[in-house]
Symmetry: C2
Subunit: 210 residues, 2 copies
DNA sequence: ATTCGAACAGGACAATCATCCTGTTTGGAG
DNA sequence: CTCCAAACAGGATGATTGTCCTGTTCGAAT
């Protein structure tokens, strides 16, 4: 059915798969899962329908691949690693916010947190995607809590439950990202960073610092 | 083209319009704007295509009506009024979280914050919807900040910028709702409430309580 | 009683969606 | 070389999508 050999073809399954997944991650993150059609992805990635459905029979499988791959990697790169390498959790949080704010300001627009976006769009729509998302989320929280506990053992005055605090940090980050996305301005992130540091740094527990 | 008068019809433009808008608010909040088709809404609201397109020529106009109406009202009812009527901002926040957690637990599932959901789905997709959303958001923040300032004037020890703190509260609430939606569990909201109160109540400013 | 615009009925419409299908090409195993 | 499964090409398909259109009915004003 294909014409002649007008163009050379080279079988590169991993390369094409990566092109599709990367294109999808970008589109899902900036525009959303639902509004991105597989046609859009085919043309954007430069792959034919045959190649596409060979690697990803359904759109959902592509979504799961993006979650398990690019989204998990993004969380790892922008949060987990910087926190682990920072001196303290609060120093890590401060650096992470500063970097994201800087990137957003020079990018000119705010797309939001990739994981947060996919969660709020798909969590009540597809249970497999929801579970894939919470797996990433739980690792994120676990690593953050671990760092907080390490800080506490190192003598930092922060008598709060590490898991609870990690949840709170991620929540305020997600929400600040959503506000920034709505207002298309990074100032919500600046506010969040400032107040989060205030929350983390001076913490005499329940009684006001004896 | 219509058959005979098999069923009586009563012209009730406001009633039908309200049925459509309320159905749409429920569907947009629990499932999402994109995945909800106008066919779904027609059957769910029990209106014909003619009636629907008479009141809302496009889906977008319906979305804007839902935002300006039901979503704004929901924010008013669940946040602005309770905060205004509470003794202090932190007491109001505590009561609001407690009520939402109670409702979610007995409802059995978490759909997320209606405004937060629509923002993260539509903010980068349609500028009119985005602007409608930030109008609600800004009023929300303004009222919250006003309450915080009133608390400060009343002698409460909270030397923080009211607008910034309001942003932070809304952000952490949105994010906690998103986490709760992902995990289908209200514990993220409990964590957020607890830490938010800690943040609000004991606040000796920059220097650790002289 | 007549009239006229608003309110509504009930489909028709093209466009787009995700998926599937048949056929061709590639590249390694034997 | 031969052979064959995986990798890809290039549409076709049926179901949905949002919107539109023609015709009918209501209700208030005259």
């Amino acid at each position: 059915m294909a014409k002649r050999l007008n163009k050379r073809r080279s079988n590169d399954p991993e390369g094409i798969r990566k092109r599709i997944v990367d294109t999808a991650f970008s589109a899902f993150s900036t525009r959303g899962y639902g509004v991105t059609s597989v046609q859009d992805l085919k043309t954007a990635a430069g792959v034919t329908g045959g190649a596409f459905s060979h690697h990803f029979p359904t759109k959902k499988e592509l979504g799961l691949a993006v979650l398990h791959g690019n989204v998990a990697d993004a969380v790892e790169e922008t949060w987990i690693k910087p926190v682990a390498e920072a001196k303290t959790a609060s120093a890590g949080v401060e650096a992470i916010f500063a970097r994201i704010i800087r990137e957003l300001d020079q990018q000119g627009f705010v797309s939001g947190c990739p994981l947060g976006n996919m969660v709020s769009e798909l969590a009540r729509q597809d249970d497999d995607m929801r579970k894939a998302a919470i797996a990433i989320l739980e690792k994120w929280r676990k690593e953050l809590a671990q760092k907080i506990r390490a800080d506490q053992r190192a003598g930092h005055c922060a008598p709060l439950d590490a898991e609870t605090a990690a949840n709170f940090i991620i929540a305020s980050y997600w929400g600040a990202m959503a506000i920034a996305k709505a207002s298309q301005d990074s100032s919500a992130l600046k506010d969040c960073s400032q107040e989060l540091l205030r929350y983390l740094e001076l913490h005499p527990g329940q009684r006001p610092c004896l």
